[in-house]
């Protein structure tokens, strides 16, 4: 197993000198505001606190983005508290055992959301080179959400790129063209086989406009933008879907069976309305920009979870070469929390009923597909430890092997990601005590039918 090469130290950097200076000024205020933890009510008979190194620490920015560039090089983006909270990119040529010196993406520090469903994204690719010439440097694209301080739910979708193999990054741009201090968050970055870049995010401009006119608006919306020049510029924002959930990540995946130039397929938690006007939080499934005006998006799940709440559970999506859609999502089915998986054909027709995955504590799925081979990963917390489990199917998701634990953490952890290197799946997972891990899901022999960029 690769040694954990970076650990995130929870407290922000703070010089002792400045701490001593403010100490006397603040001690009076301190007493009136945040009491020491041990001043809790009902603490009689207080035993030894549960072992938890992270106790009292703010939540660490554990969400890490990772992707391979097609040459076997792993690229990673993360928030670096040791660099003033800047985003940094590094890369590894030995499957995560060693990483290059990190390069700052944003020269000017800004808040970056990197926890739970909010993850900085990274993609990398080598440009085509004429035969016999040296391979050109990789292009690297990074996208993230920058939350606005003290404005709940507000943020901007930010983007930067490197055209020199990750040595330097362009000045970050804001991709949302509505710049009001409202929700533009939960971005997902995707790249088509033709090289076009897509950014989709949760956007509240319509909801805010409705509110100003005294009207109600169900949920939020998903907006997207497209770049046809390798990320030098993005086109105007367009709406993908109205009435989406406010707080769940969006899954994007290329559909190899779609015509050339098609936008990626999106799976997201939608807010449908039932006959009584109550919110039903099922998932919508449609290509970006592929929902006709005034129609409800096609359903990717049909559990009818009726709730006005923020689940913070986004879905996973992977599409096989023949257009088979593999979906995984979390919902309450009746009263039972359920992580589920289902395969749909290229027209969206179910190939089998949804199946329950993992135990009642299973959540935050990830999917990877190569032909008929499908991998599904998720995490479960059992009261002591968090484990990432994986299941494998060799027949397009009809039958699955027994779930096997891939990794474990005794502390705070990121949601698991499955990423591919030329068709081979890896778990990318970060956790506070153990650090970053990249774990192969397949044994080292070459895959039978490597088909990474054929589509």
């Amino acid at each position: 197993m690769p040694a954990p090469l970076f650990r995130i130290v929870a407290p922000r950097p703070l010089s002792v000198g400045s701490a001593l200076f403010v100490l006397p000024l603040l001690s009076a205020l301190f007493a009136a505001t945040i009491p020491p933890a041990r001043a809790h009510e009902g603490h009689e008979g207080h035993g030894a606190p549960t072992a938890s190194k992270g106790a009292k620490a703010p939540r660490p920015p554990l969400a890490v983005g990772a992707a391979f560039d097609g040459s076997g090089r792993l690229w990673r983006v993360r928030v670096a508290p040791e660099q003033g909270g800047r985003l940094v990119v590094d890369h590894s040529d030995d499957l995560g055992a060693h990483f290059s010196a990190p390069v700052a993406v944003n020269a000017v520090p800004e808040p970056v959301a990197a926890e739970g469903e909010l993850r900085p994204d990274i993609l990398a690719a080598l440009p085509d080179a004429p035969a016999g010439t040296a391979p050109p440097p990789a292009q690297v694209w990074v996208a993230w959400t920058s939350p606005l301080a003290n404005v709940p739910y507000a943020g901007h979708v930010r983007f930067a790129r490197s055209t020199d193999g990750g040595h330097s990054f362009s000045a970050p741009i804001t991709v949302n063209d509505d710049t009001a201090p409202i929700t533009h968050r939960f971005q997902t970055l995707s790249r088509g086989p033709d090289g076009r870049l897509y950014l989709a995010w949760i956007d509240k401009r319509e909801g805010e406009a409705a509110k100003r006119q005294g009207q109600a608006y169900r949920g939020a919306a998903i907006y997207y933008a497209e770049s046809r020049d390798d990320g030098a510029t993005f086109g105007a924002n367009a709406r993908h879907a109205a009435h989406t959930c406010e707080c769940c990540r969006i899954a994007l995946a290329n559909d190899p069976a779609a015509p050339a130039g098609s936008r990626p397929l999106a799976l997201w938690r939608h807010v449908y309305a039932d006959a009584q006007g109550k919110s039903i939080r099922d998932h919508g499934l449609a290509p970006l920009g592929g929902i006709a005006d005034g129609t409800e998006p096609p359903k990717g799940s049909d559990d009818r979870w009726q709730v006005d709440a923020c689940p913070h559970h986004g879905p996973a999506l992977a599409v096989a070469g023949d257009g088979t859609r593999h979906l995984a999502w979390f919902n309450l089915v009746g009263a039972a929390p359920s992580l589920q998986y289902q395969a749909l054909d290229r027209n969206g027709a179910p190939l089998a009923p949804p199946r329950r995955v993992g135990g009642e504590l299973a959540s935050h799925p990830a999917l990877f597909v190569r032909g008929d081979a499908v991998w599904l990963a998720w995490k479960e917390f059992d009261g002591q430890a968090t484990r990432v489990f994986a299941q494998h199917s060799t027949d397009g998701g009809r039958t699955w092997d027994t779930p096997r634990p891939l990794a474990e953490s005794g502390g705070a952890s990121d949601h698991p990601q499955l990423i591919g290197d030329r068709g081979r799946p890896y778990l990318s997972w970060n956790s506070q005590p153990e650090g970053y891990r990249l774990i192969a899901l397949e044994s080292p022999e070459p895959p039978a039918a490597p088909a990474p960029h054929r589509h």
Binding site: P11, L14, S15, V16, S18, A19, L20, V22, L23, L25, L26, S27, L29, F30, A32, T33, I34, P35, A37, A39, H40, E41, G42, H43, H46, G47, P49, T50, S52, G54, A55, K56, A57, P58, R59, P60, A149, N150, Y153, E246, C247, V307, D308, A309, C310, P311, H312, H313, F330, L332, P337, E360, L361, S363, F381, G383, T386, A412, S413, Q432
Partner: protein, 168 residues
């Protein structure tokens, strides 16, 4: 030692960020939830979980805050699932909900799943989440905004319906 000092100073700075907050925001640590419950043995109470990242929490918190303000017998435990670092952002929302004078809680552990598990292993983090505890500590769990009629039923069942006290 240096790190300890820095941590302590960070905590102090945190305090300085909210001089207007009269109530106290206490970090919830593993084991605290069980203590909150045992301190209320034989008594009805309500636990509500909310967060900055939850548009539906505002209305729910306002309804419960107003009810608790109007009825001093209503024992309301308010827990934010954010972090002690978010105190400055939480404070105005607590004030708006009429909870500025009260002790409330905020998740104090770096691993939120640990606290969620202690509170209710059937709860997967969706918010708002409210537990209506009867005196015998039978709890009704509600995801999403608490319906006014369910709230009234619980108040009546536990003899807490004061005249003109609750107007959600």
């Amino acid at each position: 030692m240096t790190r300890l000092l820095a941590r302590f100073a960070a905590l102090l700075l945190l305090g300085a960020a909210l001089p207007a907050l009269a109530g106290a925001l206490t970090p919830l640590q593993p084991g605290d939830y069980a203590r909150i419950k045992s301190a209320r043995s034989g008594k009805p109470f309500i636990v509500t979980l909310w967060g900055l990242d939850c548009p539906y929490c505002k209305g729910n918190l306002a309804m419960l805050g107003a009810a608790a303000k109007a009825n001093r017998q209503l024992d309301l435990v308010v827990i934010a699932t954010d972090t002690p670092d978010d105190a400055a952002a939480l404070a105005p929302l607590l004030r708006q909900a009429g909870l500025g004078e009260r002790r409330t809680w905020v998740f104090g552990d770096a691993a939120p799943e640990r606290l969620r598990f202690e509170i209710d292993r059937q709860w997967h983090g969706e918010m708002p989440r409210t537990y209506l505890f009867d005196a015998d500590h039978q709890a009704t769990a509600v995801s999403g905004s608490l319906a006014a009629e369910d709230f009234h039923l619980w108040l009546r069942r536990n003899g807490l319906e004061a005249p003109r006290a609750v107007r959600p």
